[in-house]
Amino acid sequence: MSLLSLRDVRVQFNTAGGVVRAVNGVSLDLAVGETLGLVGESGCGKSTLGKAIMKLVPVAGGEIVVEGVDIAPLNREQLTEMRRKVQMIFQDPYGSLNPRSTVGRSVAQPLVLAGWKADATAERVETLLRWVGLPSDAKQRYPHEFSGGQRQRIGIARALALSPKLIICDEPVSALDVSVRAQVINLLEDLKSQFGVSYLFISHDLSVVEHIADRVAVMYLGMLFEIGGRDQIWKSPQHPYTKALLAAAPIANPKLARARQRTVLQGELPSPLNPPPGCPFNSRCPMAQDRCRVEKPVLRPVSNGAQAACHFV
């Protein structure tokens, strides 16, 4: 059984300019102990998909199954149980921490809500802070007294409080400097091997995802274009957009960077208010044919063992 299973999940927002289909029929599975990387360019729907799983945005359709239970129809109490299993950390930990709450209280909050007793909570907070590498006196201090990397550790401590099975990490290292980013990535990997927690790791940074993920899903304008093992995706990407994305990602090695032949993808992401009909990539795709402008491709198995949504792979 998958830890998380999404079937045709849809989220839409009604905006002044019209309806934005931010998540437009996404299906995927995430196994126990797995890190699934979710990549794609700004606005493609990564955060919205993460929030949909947390039920932080209204879900317009589809199934979100956590350990065999579809959470779409659940009531408040039942959701509390689910929230224990699935936690989320955000790009800007500052925004997600209450500035007037001490770090100790922020980390304790999920425990208190779950009905933990005061002394058990205090002990647990100590442990959590130790796990994420924060000094014990951090409890009495406020978020603004900490650096970006330390605030991210606070967010991770809080997410870990109730021993979740899955943590949705939404760009957890994107705001951090290189050296601190590496500290937080290593911490996430240590926690995974220690506690067997799984991650849905959302990032626009392909090199970080290549480092941390077991499997990778590529998103474009609300749709999954390709999903497969990390090496399948990196060594033999099948979908034209995956190829373009990998070709565009800078490589921190001048020799490798020069050696690869680089075709720069032209054009920009179309407006999500007005996506091209058929395959949403057809306005930029070097392989687009007439069929792509009328028929939307669906995800299906392709030769590299992954799944891709393109009429011509």
Partner: protein
């Protein structure tokens, strides 16, 4: 000016922040040369003084609190540090172009794209308005603006981040400057658009033989664009090398740490990233000796009391570290 002078030659540049909490050396003796057609990347983590170096070179420092307190910035052989602002107005945008990180803040939100480019051209060239408008259109085509003719009448908020950055590039190169300073020009962009803008900058630079300083914190972007690399830490240059040598045999422990901390797809996959413990110290609390000492794996007694100076460990290389110079 002598025809043999380098486009940009910076010697012992010092910029200090005069704040209520005291004086802070934000740029502490930076020397740097950039040849025609050459790209020098300035790298380092947030707060190490990259942008203040760029603003010092452009003479655009926020004053107060920042002021150049020493050194020279020779542009085509002429030191521009002592020049009055009126003279700088004629130099900026003409001899030296600039591109900043946040595209929207560098454009005038209430003027059309055409008006902004025309203004640059009319300030620095003899072109009349009509000719300048024709040239503005050409420039937009040159920077690959999709649907250029129509975009001339657009306001910045009607354009995507990538398109705004193209307009800024068009303005920066409008007068064919000999030096271009780009401060994180692609950091706010998506990777596919970043690749477009990097390719564009390289092409424009090669065609015009511009000297370019490229500021970034992203070693991937460095590897893709630079000929030579200068690594900064706490306001000082700690290492300089050709891009190949820097990545192949980094000498300064900070450079080694930065490279180890950056995942490289396609390279052999490390189980763990080599992180650097701790973080960049604030400028008002720099350690007495080597600023990197509290985070350094190779720290020695001497590092705690003495500041390492730049030494020459090999041809074309510089490093400021006691351990690296001793081998």
């Amino acid at each position: 000016m002598g025809g043999s002078a380098l486009p940009l030659e910076i010697t012992d540049l010092r910029t200090t922040l005069f704040t209520r909490r005291g004086e802070m050396k934000a740029v502490d003796g930076l020397s740097l040369t950039v040849g025609a057609g050459e790209t020098v990347a300035l790298v380092g983590e947030s707060g190490c003084g990259k942008s203040l170096s760029a603003l010092s070179i452009m003479r655009l420092l926020p004053d107060p609190p920042a002021r150049i307190v020493g050194g020279q910035v020779k542009l085509n052989g002429r030191d521009i540090v002592p020049l009055p602002e009126e003279t700088m107005l004629g130099i900026r945008g003409k001899e030296i172009g600039m591109i900043f990180q946040d595209p929207l803040s560098s454009l005038n939100p209430v003027a059309t794209v055409e008006k902004q480019i025309v203004e640059v051209l009319m300030t620095h060239t003899e072109l009349g308005r009509g000719q300048a408008r024709v040239r503005a259109h050409e420039l937009l085509e040159l920077v690959g603006m999709p649907d250029a003719a129509r975009r001339l009448d657009a306001y910045p908020h009607q354009l995507s981040g990538g398109m705004c950055q193209r307009v800024i590039i068009a303005m920066a190169i409008a007068c064919s400057p000999s030096v271009l300073i780009a401060d994180e020009p692609t950091t706010a962009l998506d990777v596919t658009v970043q690749a477009q803008v990097l390719a564009l900058l390289k092409k424009l630079q090669a065609d015009a033989g511009m000297a370019m300083i490229f500021i970034t914190h992203d070693l991937g972007v460095v590897a893709e664009t630079a000929d030579r690399v200068v690594v900064m830490y706490a306001g000082r240059k700690v290492e300089e090398a050709s891009v190949d040598e820097l990545f192949e045999s980094p000498l300064h422990p900070y450079t080694v740490g930065l490279i180890g901390a950056t995942p490289t797809p396609g390279a052999a996959r490390a189980e763990r990233l080599a992180d650097i413990p701790g973080m960049v110290p604030p400028l008002n609390a720099l350690p007495q000796g080597c600023a990197f000492a509290p985070r350094c794996k190779r720290v020695m007694d001497r590092c705690l009391t003495e500041k390492p100076n730049l030494t020459v460990p090999g041809a074309g290389r510089l490093v400021a570290c006691f351990a690296a110079e001793g081998g």
